[in-house]
Amino acid sequence: MKIFGFLFQSSIGKKIMMSLTGLFLISFLLVHCGVNAMIFFNDGGEIFNEAAEFMGTNWLIRTIEVGLFVFLLIHIIQGLYLWNDNAKKRKEKYGKTAGNANSTWYSRSMGLLGTLLLLFLIIHLRHFWVISRFTDVVTGGEQTLYEMMKEVFAEPWVVAAYVLGCISLAYHLMHGFQSAFQSLGINHPLYTPLIQQIGNGFAIVVSVLFAAMPVAMHFNIVQ
């Protein structure tokens, strides 16, 4: 394992680690978003519940889930550490800053956006993951996951929090997606613009889809 030590020690190693864990989380988002989007079949959650059942019980998925949490934790801890550490590299701040003249605000705010996402994640996990894993509400058949969602999203502040979370996610991804490739050393005059476009597209589509779920349920657009 010694040869992987650099992923936690050197500046470039750490960003490679952020990149790898980030890409894994992106792939997770794709699956998560895909499964959840099944509510839009508008069939009273039938297909969605089936998919949720599969995801919740399949041993391979459950194993990957462990990995997901490990990567998520690394991404969070390393991210927070880097945010704090980088901020200390300039003790005397500028009297006047360049604003957005040389970079986008969200690329400079990954720590902040990530922290917002973390707060959102705590709420989100508390709402669904904890209940479905550690109680038998879902598995015991008292309530389907779909019904649980309907119940949770009846609260307006929850919907607002989720929408805010998704906005944070969109900006976090707009920078994070393409940045992950740059960190891994993938930069090419032909492909980098493509990666950037795909990244922006991904960030917007995934975030809008996620945000649409609580909104749609709250306003009973899906039944």
Partner: protein, 251 residues
């Protein structure tokens, strides 16, 4: 007579590395054809004649190549125009009545020596750690013995045009030096002469860069946007790639 513009300067004054600094305000009448540094010459002559301490700033060639001039002007290293150094900035880029905030390049690794002068010797130490080809004088073969395609030579040249001014560090919110280091790593990794040491070089340079206390890159791109020689962000990607390969190879 001469067309002149009046500007108000808010200049960072700091006696030495350990003392605290603050902004001082000065009024200067400038000619639009003057360079920004010539405007500072005028200010300093004024200050000396008034018996005050002139503003210390680094400068030497005044044609944009030595990399000695610095200054963050209205929040931007080398001022508002892209692709030039402070000495190439002219007062015609400003309007009558402008307020211009002038600060030193700020980073923990660039200590302030006085006013706008900073210590950039960390860059030298990074080069000393590995930014070279280990070839003693007299060891060379004929220059045309190893052919280098024009495209490769041009790309290496593009990276090699770095003037080591430190604008990248000063623009980066993390005070990261990766554009500077990436430029040298890229130049030497591209050329056949640099290939023998490419793995040990990138590791040694990155280790030194970290030891000097520069921040980590978060790919905001501010460095490349402010680089007076327009070194592209791709040199950082190249460095990341080189570094990853070297590390996975146990270097």
């Amino acid at each position: 007579m001469e067309k002149g513009i009046n500007v108000t300067l808010k200049v960072w004054r700091q006696k030495n590395e350990t003392s605290a600094g603050s902004f001082e305000t000065y009024k200067v009448q400038a000619n639009p054809d003057m360079s920004f540094l010539e405007m500072f010459d005028v200010l300093n002559e004024q200050l000396i004649t008034e018996g005050k301490d002139p503003v210390a700033f680094d400068h030497d060639c005044r044609e944009g190549i030595c990399g000695m001039c610095s200054m963050v002007i209205n929040g931007r290293p080398h001022g508002p125009k892209g692709g030039i150094t402070t000495c190439q900035l002219h007062m015609r880029s400003f309007k009558d009545g402008d307020i211009i905030v002038v600060e030193p390049f700020r980073a923990n690794s660039f200590g302030v020596i006085k006013d706008l002068s900073v210590d950039r010797t960390a860059f030298d130490r990074i080069i000393a750690a590995g930014g070279f080809v280990s070839v003693n004088t007299g060891n060379a073969v004929d220059a045309n013995n190893i052919l280098i395609p024009k495209e490769i030579a041009d790309k290496a040249f593009e990276a090699a045009t770095c003037i080591g001014c430190g604008a990248c560090v000063s623009a980066c919110k993390n005070a990261s030096a990766m554009l500077f280091v990436g430029a040298k790593v890229t130049q030497l990794a591209l050329l056949p002469q640099g290939k023998a040491e490419r793995q040990s070089r990138v590791v040694a340079m990155v280790n030194q860069m970290d030891a000097e206390g520069f921040g980590a890159c978060t790919n905001t791109g501010a460095c490349a946007a402010e680089c007076p020689k327009e070194i592209p962000l791709s040199v950082i990607a190249t460095m990341n790639r080189e570094y990853l390969a070297a590390k996975l190879n146990g270097k």
